[in-house]
Amino acid sequence: MAHVDIKDLSKHFGTLTVFDGVDLHVDDNEFVSILGPSGCGKTTLLRIVAGIVEATAGAVLVDGETIHKPRPDMTLVFQNFRLLPWRTVEDNVAYGLRLQGNSKAAARELAQPYVQLVGLEGREKEYPYQLSGGMQQRVGLARALAIQPEILLMDEPFGALDAQTRELMQDELLKIWSADRKTVLFVTHSIDEAIVLSDRVVMMQSNPGRIVDVIRVPFDRPRDATAIRTDPRFATLRAEMWALLRQDPLAGDSAPGRTGD
């Protein structure tokens, strides 16, 4: 149980305004997606929420406490995996657990269910260079889930997966989340993914990055991803979001679609 308040947040890099005046409340155990074209500042926003980058103005509060540095109960799944090349699959998954003070053996044992969860049993002793991009992404996901955070920040966590694995992982994430609800802030390129997973979808546009709309997704929980994709309301939502994204002159080159990127 934890909620996030983003208050009038702005970020500049020199003369570049990444985004301005972002306000967002994410409720306890709510699943919120952020959908927007590349460059609108989604990654930067998540890094500020995670406490690894300073905002230029405004604040992020978790349960009313202002974020200045990373919190042990909040974790970020990075867009570019960031596995330690010198650690095996199991030790990468166990990394957060190790930093919480578990012994090597205890951390490995606690990590094992998460290795299985992402379908990497049997590859525990391999090094990241021996894995495909999709497998590396799954290791990053397992590493974040393994510490059982209250708040999960995810930056296009399925971006490196092929369409099929991507849908399987979405189903898996829905299951994990239903069994053990967490507060999730999920960045994606893909409209479909945002609809299937979220309670609400935050629509962003770029130059400068800003929130243009927040759309509630009406489907009941627990969800069945396949049923949702064939629901007529799905097509309507999809068209509505697509129209919003298309107003952004830069959205054309990133063309969010069914499988995204």
């Binding site: 990075f78 960031r82 930093l99 090094y127």
Partner: protein
């Protein structure tokens, strides 16, 4: 790519073949030009054997091994930590960048006479010379290794609330390990050069002095013996560190 496709046997064959060609060329030059110009390999080995038997070899090896052990040891023990700190602490890097580069690009040989005048013709100055030859490549490689450690991984570690010490242990040291080993390899090989030069200039003892003694007698076979031993030592150090690196960094895959 083609390097990787060479089998281990082909590599050994290639190396042995090349060694035979060099040996053959050596014989050819030695036998056509006469042994005042270049002694043939068997004469060098025979002379080396006599030198070992008479105890002369060990007598001259001892002092050089001594200055090497202390000078290079100090160079490594201070150079690695210094390089780590310089690589990680920004103001320290900017403070030391210019002096280190000036020092590194100055041929150290040119400083040897000054060191001898200031410190004296003794073991201390020889150790100092070896130390200087070792420490610079170690510091430079280590600090550049630290500076090129993936900042994303440092951030990852931080995002799991790692302390600075944990970031060092988990990211910075393992990430710069290959560069550190390269620094050690260069440093130790420079140490050999430094030791021989120290013997040349400060004289009266050591391997370098033995080479000079034989050269002054125009005994080319005798002078080449210690040179061969030095070459073999350098090669052994390089090979040893290469295999250590492979064992220490299994994550890099096949070399």
């Amino acid at each position: 790519m083609t390097d990787r496709e060479l089998s281990a046997r082909a590599v050994v064959g290639l190396r042995v073949g090349f060694a035979l060609v060099v040996l053959g060329a050596w014989y050819l030059v030695a036998l056509t030009m006469g042994d005042l110009f270049l002694a043939p390999p068997h004469a060098v080995l025979a002379s080396l054997g006599r030198s070992v038997e008479s105890g002369e070899f060990l007598k001259y090896l001892g002092p050089t091994a001594y200055i090497l052990a202390i000078g290079a040891g100090l160079g490594v023990v201070t150079g690695v930590p210094a390089g780590l700190l310089i690589g990680r602490i920004r103001w320290l890097y900017f403070l030391t960048e210019a002096p280190i580069n000036i020092f590194y690009t100055t041929p150290l040989v040119a400083l040897i006479p000054f060191i001898l005048v200031i410190v004296g013709f003794n073991y201390q100055s020889k150790i100092l010379i070896v130390f200087l030859f070792t420490v610079l490549p170690v510091v430079i490689n280590t600090s550049s290794g630290v500076r090129t450690v993936d900042a994303d991984l440092v951030e990852l570690s931080r995002s799991f609330c790692a302390t600075e010490w944990t970031v060092w242990r988990d990211v910075i040291v393992p990430g710069s390990l290959p560069a550190i080993v390269t620094g050690l390899r260069l440093g130790l090989i420079h140490a050999l050069v430094g030791a021989v030069l120290a013997d040349f200039y400060a004289g009266a003892s050591g391997f370098g002095y033995l080479i000079i003694l034989y050269s002054n007698r125009f005994d080319i076979a005798g002078a080449l013996g210690p040179v061969l031993v030095l070459a073999a030592t350098g090669t052994a150090i390089a090979a040893l560190l290469k295999s250590a690196q492979r064992r220490l960094s299994p994550w890099q895959g096949a070399p």
